[in-house]
Symmetry: none
Subunit: 130 residues, 4 copies
Amino acid sequence: MAITVNFDSPVSIEEQVYQALRRVVATREIAHGENLPTVRQLASDLGVHWTTVARAYRRLATDGLIVVRRGRGATVCAPRSESRASATVRATVRQKLMEAVTEARLGGMPLEQVEAALRREVALLKGEPV
Amino acid sequence: MAITVNFDSPVSIEEQVYQALRRVVATREIAHGENLPTVRQLASDLGVHWTTVARAYRRLATDGLIVVRRGRGATVCAPRSESRASATVRATVRQKLMEAVTEARLGGMPLEQVEAALRREVALLKGEPV
Amino acid sequence: MAITVNFDSPVSIEEQVYQALRRVVATREIAHGENLPTVRQLASDLGVHWTTVARAYRRLATDGLIVVRRGRGATVCAPRSESRASATVRATVRQKLMEAVTEARLGGMPLEQVEAALRREVALLKGEPV
Amino acid sequence: MAITVNFDSPVSIEEQVYQALRRVVATREIAHGENLPTVRQLASDLGVHWTTVARAYRRLATDGLIVVRRGRGATVCAPRSESRASATVRATVRQKLMEAVTEARLGGMPLEQVEAALRREVALLKGEPV
DNA sequence: GTGGTCTAGACCACG
DNA sequence: GTGGTCTAGACCACA
């Protein structure tokens, strides 16, 4: 599980760890029923304090992505099946996409390339060859 | 120019204002050669401190999106033409797209709907009917 | 005896088991003179460590609700008769009631409904039809 | 605003502060639009670390009871009007009432006295003479 | 001045 | 050993 944090980023370390772990769960790199690394282990790998990692784990637990139990570590929950997504989820996704196209245009990247890049990301997540 | 800030968000007000203004420039809602509102005007509209807005304007100027001249306000620069985007831009766009698909999967939103949503965003930015 | 524990709760498993057993004794679901399940039996039913259950039993014994004797298990003691309650008990009860009305008001629940709900709880404890 | 914390309690200091502040908001001791004390002020009053108080404030903000803004302190939000309470709220209230009657019976407190005590709490919250 | 985050390291509860 | 909480105090962003 290769995750890194950028100490110079305006986004907090906790947030970076949280987002990276959401990704790990979404890709099923660590599957349903398996454990994440212990907070102290991951913290030492990343070079951050273990309480910072523990805070990120708590948020994942609040989201229902993992179950955290003292003395037993953090276990990944069963994934949600595809279904009618909530309005909140759709709004979040839309926001991210809007940011992507905004960055693309300001950076002079043709919008067709953005669509191609999205197809690559979708294929990656599905585990298909790109 | 309708921009709003969320005071409860973990992302700073400065960052929210900065991002919203990037969007305004990207959509050409305020076109090349026109002025943004004054720092104090926008601050008062949003109910935030004027120094916060000023910091956001400075960042836009650093990005080369606007030029700020004493006594003449903040003027939007000519847009970049589409071209070969820098690696940085492509990485940023890719990151946003990755976050979008991650959120979609965790929220149970079918990935095909993400592609459809992106097409809508692209059309919106181009000013085409959706 | 159907008791469950919530592994995600901020309140410890020991505390949950302890509270649930207090409830079981109060309702006389296991009556005066009868035995609680063995520590290892209950632990295995709940999927928790047996030492956790043992700690809860110790607390019940300290409270005088059960007696634990080697080789004979944990036996429920005779209930206290109704009498003038100690100041401590009255303070505890008052605290719980205060929390209940606080939650009700913050959640928009009319306070009359709280009184009705209490009458239901009293009837339940007495074993009357609700 | 007289709140105290019990350092020997099994419930965490953060939780105690959080509950006490929920009470303060519910009773409108600090009304809609007013500010709570600053985190450092309250922490110093209680003799705890200010980050502990800050965590409690964050939870209140998550609950939508207050709005916390850097440099401006924590402001109480408008109260919810009475309405049909959610199932979650009703379950929470019911749980608290169940704990109250359990404690009463185990402590030998007549259940009629519990009902009387609840009426007092309701009157207190409504600001009526008791 | 406000609150937000991070590190450091203590102590505790749980398995 | 696990994670949870607290203190202590640094540094940052915002008003």
